[in-house]
């Protein structure tokens, strides 16, 4: 295993209640778990929401508070943004403007073109990273993608690095780093493109929905699945898909993810940041 640094990822709604009550205990536990699993002590902490702009906006006070707290603990704080819908755009921009003024955010991870452009124009002092949602390469959990014989790109370990979006948009927006998913079964050789890569582990995004299966669970049909009508059920529940899949599939609110069964050590061979969610170890919490 050769990662140059670790980050602990608290973006999943599972962590929000603990972040509200006992953030430092959670951090200490996470650090301990990283070390127990052979990873360097985290120097970054990821907070925010990768999947839902509504969820992000309902927790802005929490993110501001814990950013300062983690900063005081000597950690660099990375704020993760979801793809932002037009309705939430102004509120998110307002929050970000305020956040970089009053709190200590070292990086912002953007997950849509619009927010990346906005951040590069309006928050030029804050580092910008491109989130996992920019990577559109084929992901599978139902079977081993690498065994599909006629998938032309199956041997391009990181084809994303050669896309125009990286060479042009990311350059224009002065993107400092790129976040990517865990790759199944492969030794991930990161390209030498002068950027800082971060590999999220163990979840891989398979898909993302603009509606939410959990939303409006206590409402009549007219209010169901609309994200603006939710009671943040994603902070309480998840769905596991009972199938003999290659990787375990889970639905967490609006994001459909696959959980890598293998340890991170087998995946990374090169310099990069491991962005580790301790969800898989959360039963030990």
């Amino acid at each position: 295993m050769t990662v140059s640094s670790s980050a602990v990822n608290f973006c999943a709604p599972l962590f929000y209640p603990v972040l509200e009550k006992q953030p430092l205990l959670l951090l200490a536990t996470a650090q301990q778990m990283l070390q127990q699993n052979g990873l360097p002590k985290a120097t970054y902490v990821y907070i925010g929401s990768e999947g839902c702009d509504i969820l992000l906006l309902r927790h802005t006070a929490l993110f501001l508070k814990i950013a300062d707290l983690f900063h005081e603990e000597g950690l660099a704080v990375t704020l993760v943004l979801p793809p932002v819908a037009e309705e939430q755009l102004e509120a998110v921009c307002e929050f970000l403007t305020e956040a970089v003024k009053v709190s200590h955010f070292d990086e912002i991870v953007c997950n849509d073109v619009g927010m990346l452009l906005w951040c590069s124009h309006h928050l030029s002092d804050c580092k910008r990273r491109a989130g996992r949602c920019f990577d559109k390469t084929v992901r599978e959990a139902r079977f081993d993608l690498y065994s599909v014989p006629n998938l032309q790109n199956s041997r391009e370990v990181l084809p994303y690095a050669e896309q125009s979006i990286i060479t042009e948009l990311f350059r224009d927006c002065s993107v400092s780093g790129i976040d990517i998913d865990t790759v199944p079964g492969a030794v991930l050789q990161l390209p030498e493109v002068g950027r800082d890569y971060a590999i999220w582990y163990p979840e891989t995004i398979l898909s993302y929905s603009t509606t939410c299966e959990f939303a409006g669970s206590k409402l009549p049909a007219s209010g169901k699945f609309l994200v603006g009508h939710c009671c943040m059920e994603c902070k309480m529940y998840k769905t596991t898909v009972q199938h003999k899949s290659f990787w375990q599939i889970e639905k967490n609110g609006r994001i459909i993810e696959a959980i890598a069964p293998q340890p991170l050590q087998q995946l990374v061979n090169g310099k990069g940041r491991a962005v580790v969610s301790i969800r898989q170890w959360s039963e030990q919490l």
């Binding site: 932002v84 819908a85 559109k136 139902r142 669970s217 169901k224 699945f225 639905k251």
Partner: protein, 327 residues
Amino acid sequence: MKLIAPIRSLQQYPILKESGAQELYGGIWLSESGRVSEYNRRGNFGEQANFTDFNELAQVIEYCCDDGIPFYLTMNAIYTPVAQKPLIKDILKHYRACGGKKVIVSNEDMLTLAREADCEITISSCAGISNRFSAEYWVKAGAERLILPRSVTFAQIRSFRQYLPANVEIETFMMNTMCKFSDSMCRSLHNTEYGALCAFIDHSQKKYVLLDGQELTGREAIPMCTNGYLYQQLYTGNKSFGCGHCALWELFQAGVDSVKIVGRLLDADVLANQIRLTRRNMQIAAECHSKDEYLHRMESVQRLMGNDICRNGFQCYYREARTERHA
């Protein structure tokens, strides 16, 4: 406002034209391109959803030119592998030689290739334009039309119209396929051999658990399982139909330039019925002075698509329109 419909063969052309399609779009599939690594989101359906011969496509484009019907070629994969670029260049070259000019794309690489081939650019819903800054990005890259995602709301459309240059056209969805996931974010293979991820999940048993993996109590399980059951029904099988008819008046008012009937796999007769109905409702919307008047006068989709299509609003592309209608 115009109506755009899919076409996949010369045989379909007279039927679609007679029924009132004002714009057409379609893809081409070449056997050497393979069914898995596809470039137009329907490549894996091969001849079931695409033209398979440039001569036939050229004939359709010629008829379109004669009849004043713009034709758009779908090249809207969310990602273009480097290895596929020579094939894409070749397709675009042949398309231009056929007289085609308009291309629907979703990613920067495809856009660059289309611009190199001197094509006019439409950005697909698969680009996932979620906010005005994203929309502006694509316009600066040369887009002349933006196809907004299925999930777009009236408020979003109005906002886009307000911020985008007047000469940039907006297209939105009107009939047929719904999708649980965002087109722009669905990275699983989406084809006949492996099926789509959404269908795979629907056909698998799902279990709701607390985030720490613990079982739900009965009190917690009932609302979640009800949601789960409805969500499983939603957009599945014959309920995968999507409709925006109740929204037509609002879409007119919001400045939408074109509404899309999707379904590259559908037979021409099915499409023709939907096109006729949509054109009739477009005519009514154009004559009405208010939303209420339109909702009162519009022709119901139920006659064509079945009685339960409007039951709970899950089949609505624009759920706010239905809520207002049934309020």
